[in-house]
Symmetry: C2
Subunit: 380 residues, 2 copies
């Protein structure tokens, strides 16, 4: 039996309101498969969570206490001006609140910044195989992505600068220290890039991992520059990846643009409280940096003991050259997953000959030391 | 003394990378001034927080306990697939997970949906003076907003439908029950609107307040329709405004579009846990609905006792006709603020003759009952 309602619905299936041509053209994007999904699909619970460059040492106990104390207030919208956090950040960084935009992680800020500057055909320069979410944002606004391969497993600063001078793109993106390779450039080279990039090109400098980097990696802040935006986060050294709080630093005229497009109530109340408490406990952050440093050494040792070649790292992960191709590296990632160890790897050749292991706790690294030889032996 | 660095910076001030023409044309948007900002500017702490249609009765104690228990895990990114929450919502609603998109509140979802369908010059129909954030999204993507005034303080369904038929806009937006007026249409009228809107027009039906509405307000879900997207939230009846979790319900081909543009890791880990626990405690939600109902009656009585005319409400607030113009209503809002009572008001005439008071706890309403006569007397 066919109801009239059914007939109407069948007719409706023939048509639908059309996405914009740009959206229609986009693929469905899955930037990263989460460890929860990997556990569901493999039927194997994750025992060591070392794939997403999270901070296993966690947020400060003071942060946890603050979140717990404020949980009953979750019915209140967060302050859309993020006043307390912005004031504290400004003081911490020695700049004015007008030079800071806060939003839902660097991912969220990247999306907003790209939206502010990129439309159909806008040129954007990035490294080939760099953090993929940025490139996804550029494509999703119709930008024309021009990429430069890595050189010696680092983003190729001289080539990026040369291309910027030749093409005068709207944006030049740089991640320093780099993800997924863990490599870095000293401050003087980054400074030179910022100084010599054409004025009409915005240098977007992602410093998510800067707290882990050695002295002399981070150039001084200069918020008088209109063509530099720097991005930092509470996700890494402060241990708050799950809370989604990142911030952009720049000239107030550029920062003001975020006010036109941001989701004003987007940063949760508890996230604001957590980030503020995290910023106020620098001792904990320094403790984390020391623990990360120890874990990096341990991962390096485990890699070497297994005949693999760890890259130097200025981040909370170590990228390891496995000496063959991407298929081999992928087999190692999958082999470790079968033992409950979650790691990831770079997505583009030749960097995809590597695996990337985030710093774990001692028990995580003990498991890695135990399992890695078996996996490698199994692969032959 | 002028350093070379200073000279370079002065030169840079002359130019900057250009925003897109669309972004350049947008005003800096402040959709709502938060109570925290009002308290900072007035120097008057907020004693009764009844302006943002938050749920003062708060989230379930089970939600608070879940958030507190999981606070130490804030270092882990939230599941980008939001698997557990989506499964639970699907079961609760009797639809498939493929018919649900979850993101950072309805504000966030509106932004994504508008981005999916609206580009320069795209026609969008909305009510004049309706919830302003939606219209801000439309303008921020260059949409051509066509508005219809309220009729008898309700969104004018017949006029909206007539305009949709004549203009065949890409989107027709409806909020039912309505914010800021609290009024509503029965399900049969909304169903008629959905049935008769041209197939090429997407009906965006915002049902943020639906849990508070009387039986017979919410049309049944029909996810076979490709031109209807419905929006719901954990911000209101579930008491989680500060956690930013909303969801869209629709045909899977439309829902799939969100995967192309959403911030995959945007919903915090604790927000996902909070929303799941909230959904699982329907008894608490029903308790809140009863408390809200009592508070609505009390606000109605206070308004009448002061010679004002409360409108009927199917929401967690009561909009009150103050009988004069927007300047008078604004004076009442400001007068109450001087006594620590935070309320808001509609932004557009003739609805701006009203004030809007969110349901408070007994102590909040006692304060309102005490202060309102003084404020009105002061205004004469």
């Amino acid at each position: 039996m066919r109801s009239l309602g059914g007939a109407v619905n069948n007719a409706l299936i023939e048509t639908m309101p059309k996405f914009t041509p740009l959206i229609e053209s986009l693929p469905i994007t899955i930037p990263f498969v989460g460890p929860e999904a990997l556990a569901r699909r493999s039927g194997q619970p994750i025992k060591a969570r070392m794939g997403a460059n999270e901070n296993v040492f966690g947020p400060s106990p003071k942060v946890i206490a603050a979140v717990q104390a404020h949980a009953p207030n979750a019915w209140q919208y967060g302050d859309p001006e993020l006043f307390d956090l912005k004031q504290a950040l400004a003081k911490h960084l020695g700049i004015a609140p007008e030079n800071i935009a806060i939003s839902e992680g660097i991912d969220g800020l990247h999306g907003l910044a790209v939206r502010m500057f990129v439309e159909q055909g806008t040129k954007v320069v990035n490294s080939l195989g760099a953090y993929p979410t940025f490139s996804a944002h550029v494509k999703s606004f119709g930008g024309d992505l021009i990429t430069i391969p890595y050189a010696d497993d680092r983003e190729d600063l001289p080539a990026l600068l040369k291309l910027a001078k030749a093409e005068k793109p709207k944006i030049l993106n740089l991640v320093n220290p780099d993800n997924p390779m863990g490599t870095w450039w000293p401050a003087s080279d980054v400074q030179k890039l910022m100084d010599e990039t054409p004025e009409e090109t915005l240098v977007m400098l992602d410093e998510a991992y800067s707290e882990f980097a050695p002295e002399g990696t981070v150039p001084p802040l200069d918020v008088t520059r209109r063509n530099v935006l720097r991005f930092r986060t509470f996700s890494k050294a402060y241990g708050l990846a799950g809370m989604r709080v990142g911030y952009a630093i720049g000239h107030q005229d550029v920062i003001a643009g975020f006010e036109k497009v941001r989701n004003h109530f987007g940063v949760t109340r508890l996230s604001q409280i957590a980030a503020l408490a995290a910023l106020q406990d620098q001792d904990w952050m320094q403790y984390v940096v020391r623990e990360v440093s120890k874990a990096r050494i341990r991962i390096t040792e485990i890699a070497r003991a297994n005949g693999l070649k760890p890259l130097p790292s200025a981040t909370n992960f170590v990228t390891i050259d496995c000496g063959r191709d991407g298929i081999y590296a992928k087999s190692i990632v999958e082999g470790l997953l079968q033992h409950g160890i979650f790691i990831r790897m770079p997505g583009v050749a030749p960097q995809n000959r590597c695996i990337r292991i985030s710093c774990g706790k001692e028990k995580d690294l003990d498991l890695l030391a135990e399992v890695l030889p078996k996996v490698l032996q199994g692969l032959g």
